[in-house]
């Protein structure tokens, strides 16, 4: 996307992306639909659950090979402690030869909300170890600020719990986080249900949206991926364009001056 003729580039660490939509790769009906949906989404960066893919075996068609056109963001989904997440991140770095990691440390199975104490610990350890950490976080402004202060490459608060499709359950907090964190990229990760949710996130001034289930569990994932691409672009453009002020009373669009009969 370009704005005023200039490319609107998203920079995360030393990575430059022209798409502000980051896509997950789980739960699609099949790999063909996944690949078509990724293409329709326009995403350049895709996230892969490192514990749920086969990293070694090359004798069958490999899932990871299908994702070769994309930049791969390994994630630590399924980790419940800092220690576990750090080990999985190191495994991912070795297997995929990337410093990028999407850090998730989950607190329980019912909500899949982050465990803040373990999350901060893992984030510090990984940043110190040279990782470019994109961290999945609660929508708590203080936690997010602490993660930014630790040196994470991107802070990714949730709109709603993973896979819930509930949309922005606390837009006020999301706005507050944007207001408090100006120098680190902010991406909403989790909770997006449909296209308008993604557009709203971008209108709040967020740098990007990461989603998976909203597309993979749609009845027609490829079409929904195209919708998300447009929604993210629309929301971004609307944010950059500066919306009109709200008014209490109507104001006619056509000028009143020079009307016949006055």
């Amino acid at each position: 996307m370009t704005t005023n003729g200039r490319p609107d580039t998203l920079r995360i660490g030393d990575m430059a992306l022209s798409s502000r939509l980051i896509m997950g790769t789980s739960r699609y009906p099949n790999p063909r639909v996944m690949l078509d949906a990724l293409e329709a989404s326009g995403a350049e960066l895709v996230t892969v659950a490192i514990r749920r893919v086969n990293l070694q075996d090359a004798s069958g068609e490999r899932f990871l090979d299908l994702l070769k056109p994309y930049r791969c963001l390994p994630n630590t989904a399924g980790c419940y402690t800092a220690k576990e997440a750090v080990l999985v991140a190191q495994l991912a770095r070795e297997a995929l030869e990337t410093r990028l990691i999407k850090l998730e440390v989950i607190g329980d199975d019912e909500t899949l909300l982050p465990d803040v104490e373990q999350l901060l610990r893992a984030a510090k350890e990984l940043v110190d170890d040279g990782f470019s950490v994109m961290v999945y976080a609660n929508d708590d402004p203080i936690t997010c600020r602490k993660l930014a202060d630790l040196g994470c490459a991107a802070i990714m608060p949730l709109a709603a719990p993973i896979g819930s499709g509930q949309g922005l359950v606390n837009p006020y907090n999301l706005a507050l986080i944007r207001d408090m964190i100006q120098d680190t990229p902010l991406i909403v990760d989790a909770g997006i249900g449909t296209a308008s949710d993604a557009a709203r996130v971008m209108e709040l001034g967020y740098d990007g949206v990461l989603l998976n289930t909203a597309v993979s569990d749609a009845q027609h994932p490829v079409a929904m991926a195209a919708a998300m691409r447009r929604a993210v672009e629309a929301g971004r453009l609307a944010f950059l364009s500066g919306r009109m002020p709200r008014r209490t009373y109507a104001q006619a669009s056509s000028p009143m001056e020079g009307r016949i009969g006055k």
């Binding site: 009906p29 099949n30 004798s59 069958g60 068609e61």
Partner: protein, 386 residues
């Protein structure tokens, strides 16, 4: 007894059809060709039917498995289920082995509100497609199957979904194949295929070259990586692991129907057994059973069939489903001359055995690509790569 090299005078029809892979797909195709009077040599790297076929639960469930965007697979599944009773009868007549084919329907039980929402979406879609499925009250559901949970959040009934005993099917097909005069070469891995319009051949690991009238690839998850096919002509198949639990039925437990939730099912089988399955995991050729896999299945199944709690565990295993890139089967002639495919059956290998074996055999015998297999030709992947 087998003439391995074609003589110049030997006509194509006299050479045997060669099949690589002795699972249900390969055995059924071989048996169908034998029934039509063709000679068949089948090469199996291990023991026939001991791969994914042996691990399968034997679901014959077009309705339960319908996908939002796969109407052609649904039509094929439905047609194959229609052919199942006569297929089972013919197989019994030839082999004298019962396959455990059983109608009776399946109940889809939603254990909680979120699952009920998802089930409702599927039900609305199924009704829009004209499927014979019913949304049941709890009382109606318990009348049909008293061993589901007494407090389901929702229950859907698909009365025509059926099942078979996969291991009995393997035994029946193997016996029928031999009875009909097929040459079964177990313990004989094939290294390479040599495409040729007139006399395609296979080369075994030991270097033996056998030429035939055609080569059919039915190697399931192992279909990828055969020498002699260009990389973009390899069937794009990968293994998807499914873990299974076999329980011993003890009174008063007496489940009569297949009961399913979104990711788990319990299926009563002949001989006082219940199969609980199955995970869907992308773990390459690792066919081990894991604690997490077992836990996930047991946690889910006891919510919808609480009576499993008391049943002794008889066995645990994992199988590798052959999944193509679009999760649809790969059937019929490939662009490699003389090479046909019957693989990529994924979750539907037992269900599709009748229609796939009959329609691929029809192609081998007559050169006709029937409307049933036309949507599933291997060339769709070549086009996708171009």
């Amino acid at each position: 007894m087998s003439r391995t090299l074609p003589r110049a005078t030997e006509s194509r029809a006299e050479r045997p059809a060669l099949i690589v892979g002795g699972g249900v797909a390969g055995l059924a195709l071989g048996w169908r060709l034998l029934c039509a009077g063709r000679g068949v040599h089948l090469f199996e790297r291990d023991r026939a039917g001991r791969g994914a076929s042996w691990a399968a639960a034997g679901m014959l469930a077009p309705d339960a498995e319908i996908g939002f965007e796969d109407p052609e697979l649904y039509r094929l599944n439905r047609e194959s289920l229609r052919r199942w009773p006569s297929f089972a009868a013919a197989l019994k007549a030839e082999s004298d082995v019962e396959t455990g084919f059983r109608e009776g329907g399946a109940l889809h039980v939603a254990p909680d509100r979120d699952a009920a929402e998802a089930l409702r979406r599927r039900y609305d879609f199924m009704k829009a497609q004209g499927l014979n499925v019913q949304w049941l009250s709890t009382a109606e559901a318990l009348d049909i199957e008293p061993f589901i949970t007494s407090r389901p959040a929702a229950v859907l009934y698909s009365p025509t979904d059926s099942q078979v005993d996969a291991r009995a099917l393997v035994k029946a097909l193997r016996a029928a194949f031999l009875q009909a005069g097929g040459v079964l070469r177990e313990g004989t891995p094939v290294r390479a295929v040599e495409p040729d319009a007139e006399a395609p051949a296979v080369v075994t690991e030991d270097g033996e070259r056998v030429a035939g009238s055609c080569v059919a690839l039915a190697m399931g998850a192992w279909s990828h990586g055969l020498q002699g096919l260009a990389p973009d002509r390899q069937p794009p198949v990968r293994p998807v692991r499914g873990q299974m639990i076999e329980l011993q039925v003890e009174p008063p437990f007496g489940l009569q129907h297949v009961v399913r939730s979104a990711h788990t099912y319990a299926a009563p089988k002949p001989g006082g057994r219940v199969l609980v399955g199955a995970t869907m995991e992308e773990m390459g050729f690792d066919a081990r059973v894991t604690a997490g896999g077992l836990y996930a299945m047991l946690e889910e199944i006891r919510k919808i069939v609480p009576g499993v709690d008391d049943l002794p565990v008889r066995d645990l295993w994992a199988g590798l489903r052959p999944a193509s890139r679009d999760h649809l089967p790969i059937l019929g002639p490939s662009s490699a001359p003389g090479v046909v495919m019957a693989t990529g059956f994924f979750r539907h290998g037992m269900l599709l055995a009748p229609v796939a074996s009959e329609e691929v055999a029809r192609y081998v015998l007559t050169g006709e690509t029937s409307a049933w297999i036309a949507p599933f030709l291997p060339e769709r992947f070549e086009a996708a790569l171009a």
